[in-house]
Symmetry: C3
Subunit: 350 residues, 3 copies
């Protein structure tokens, strides 16, 4: 044990101060790691207030990450990438980072490109909403999503080619979008963790997003909505905890297993060869369950997502297995700890 903790203390866990940093840093602390938070100047108070960071490195913008990478390398820090990390740097630059990086870099291209993502999910037997190639094909409710729409803004719904052309006028700057079937049902985000060390897949938790104004317009009576001309937008403001109907869990587990299995067949963009490492660590299937209990998936996130934030002290599901508080952030730290203490760290970096 003394030996083990000695090894852990040679490493630090680092992440950017945003998105899921609080749980990542807290979880790393709980597993005995030193923690480093890379913060935007002026936003460090939060990470100080919650006492989760042993060290804070300030930058003016997350895009300046490469200026401080050497500092992190000297501290023997392992970067835990999250949504903001990938979003600010872009997957290509994430592939360029030299410091230790938890998770599979190769998978990021597949996650970041809507067509490749779809190809992957389809191969895994996942039910996907239909994509319409041209507005003329619209024959049912569809949702139009702009490429690179940040935080859920800039989506709209249309029911016909005519309505599409009417509404697209409001977005004159946008010419790259996808027209997706609008599946009528409840949004549910399924959070998984796949251990590369034990080859076990775990269901970690579920959540629904809390979107502005999508999750509040229903509070306005229809008559008032029509008077005012309410339109829906989907800006993410937070997340709410939930559990799913227990009889759906076997199918949800199977879906997770399939995307992991298929990820091993995906190819690297540079070499054209199969990825050295498939999907592992935390990931999320983002979907809709319709009234017939069909579970459609519209996106996969191949890293920790903010929907795990309600579960900093564990979720109903992680309490089942662990009997101690196990956030997704802490699960990552435990995996790294086990990798270090068994001499397998290279297997969980990528």
């Amino acid at each position: 044990m003394a030996d083990e903790s000695a090894k852990i203390s040679d490493y630090a866990i680092a992440t950017l101060g945003s998105h899921t940093a609080l749980q990542i840093l807290k979880g790393a602390h709980d597993e005995g790691f030193k923690t480093i938070c890379v913060c935007i100047r002026g936003q460090e108070n939060i990470y100080k207030s919650f006492g989760v960071a042993d060290e804070i490195i300030l930058v003016d913008s997350f895009v300046n990450f490469f200026e401080i990478e050497d500092q992190l390398i000297k501290k023997n820090a392992i970067m835990i990438p999250h949504g903001s990390f990938v979003s600010y740097l872009g997957w290509e630059k994430v592939c360029d980072i030299k410091m230790m990086h938890y998770g599979s870099k190769g998978i990021l291209e597949w996650e970041s490109d809507r067509d490749k993502e779809r190809q992957w999910l389809k191969a895994a037997g996942i039910m996907l909403p239909k994509i319409f190639k041209t507005p003329e094909e619209i024959d049912r409710p569809v949702i139009i999503k702009f490429h690179g729409a940040k935080g859920g803004k800039g989506y709209f719904i249309a029911n016909s080619p005519g309505e599409f052309y009417e509404r697209i006028k409001e977005y004159p700057a946008e010419d790259r979008f996808v027209i997706q079937e609008y599946i009528l049902g409840v949004p549910i985000y399924s959070h998984y963790f796949y251990s590369r060390l034990t080859k076990e897949l775990e269901i970690m938790s579920f959540d629904k997003r809390y979107e502005s104004n999508a999750d509040s317009i229903g509070r306005i009576a229809s008559k008032d909505q029509l008077d005012v001309g309410i339109r829906t937008s989907y800006t993410i403001t937070g997340n709410m905890p939930l559990v799913v109907r227990e009889s759906l869990l076997p199918q949800i587990m199977k879906m997770g297993e399939n995307v992991v299995t298929e990820s091993l067949k995906l190819t690297d963009h540079a070499t054209g060869k199969p990825l050295e490492k498939g999907l592992f660590g935390p990931f999320c299937l983002e979907g809709i369950i319709d009234p017939d209990l069909n579970f459609y998936i519209f996106e996969i996130s191949a890293r920790i997502v903010a929907g795990t934030n309600p579960y900093i002290n564990g979720s109903p599901y992680t309490w089942l297995k662990y009997n101690e508080p196990m956030s997704t952030g802490r699960r990552i730290a435990r995996e790294i700890k086990e990798a270090i203490t068994t001499g397998r760290l290279g297997e969980v970096l990528g």
Copy 2:
């Protein structure tokens, strides 16, 4: 203490792998019981993954329960019935099971029959939505519920006799239904536990269901809803945690006490005599709170419900009393444990 644990180890807790099995099995483990999960072949991975079952018995369908009942009897297992158990077997067959069964079998008939259920709740002074005997009487918003509608599908709303006859056309196969006043307010499910050993009633938790598509159509602007012709359905996909306004708790406690008291006056269908055992263990009052804080109840479940699943690690209310994680599943196991160790097991079986 050694003596006590020796006794517990003579028994196993068993349940069907669905509905609330995860918390029932976890709770039984926490109280020191051996656990058995009766699973549908192909769905056992979930129960293995979460590590809650010491033993898994596979069946092709839950209706095959009687084929494996003898195995459970040999293992001295106590069955914890949940919604799926009652739903798959039907209350008449549940009355026929020979293995030890936690809870009152006699109450199941009263819970399963909408008329009897109503009679019971009325006698307990509970506010109920009005029932309309014929479509012609409809003079306000009503919800039409088909008998035996599984998982909340096959309900519809109508505002007049004309609308009723218009919409019922879509359900040509259905001729048994109830026409119920549609109470406008928020759905809240109140979870109780009544101990037959201590005669104390406990408020365990509250939840709201997460229904498809009912809980997502509000995300669609009214104009879009009208364009597409959205209709509501009520398929249960999960549950969300909530707490109720504290000033409502005395009334909610009183409602629970009243249904327990009245349950002792209900009669057995076979003998016509009062039930040997009234309602005990976990139960749920499913209702609506209107803007004047009237709490209408539309259903009672006389056993554990899935709305307790958000609270596998305890609810805000059970933390108050227990200071340790106390799910409804664990509360059941603790009751059985206390019954066994005080020689009163017979009192909690039925």
Copy 3:
């Protein structure tokens, strides 16, 4: 340490049995205090059932508080004021109480008067919805709130002067109201704790209210809503847990800091001098986040609010800092305990 517990045992923590009493009393217990619950006759069972009160004092109504104040003084009890306490007594009478009172009495006038509240928040640089002085000025969706509306009833929405005059007819008894811009976005309640001992501000948790019928009308398809003529009401029936997007936390922290800082400049109604003590202890900023992530605040509560009730066993945020269950109620008790044991009790009374 023996000395410390001796001191604590000289005091009791008291509150009225409603609102947030369960967590206040539980939290006080957890910190080693004797607890007293002042209950309305007939409502005491709840507080007995959860085992949070060492002593229960019965009154016929909370307005009879002054009849039992002497009893509380003799027991050396410290009153924890909550929403029901302030609401039943009125801020003027709260200023008259002679027993030890946790928190700043002077701030209550500023919280209770919509104009003064607005002045305070504006000075703190908080974004506020626009107020319209006359109905004629209405040029966008507005919400009309009656002064003293209890529990969220008696609000309505209008989109024009004409609609205002149409709808106000339904409230003939009301002539005092405010016409506020209706901000379209999701409601979020931010819960803070400001320690007067350490001068640190903590983010404790977030919630959304569960309002009848506002949070259920969205479950009714628009066509049905229009048929039936649904109107929104806002009666609070409970609260739901949520977490906010992590990148919003720095701004939310800053908003809390600003209202604390500005509170020190507010004046006492009697003397016209600056308040002896500004805002401290628990408080809440009640607001709306719009799709552009602007956080508008429509109200401040300068004491514990019911939105902290989901977190009796700690919130995702308090788990980060405390590593033990820390409700807002317990945080108050800990502050008082630290004040007592360091001889600074006077600093947290007001």
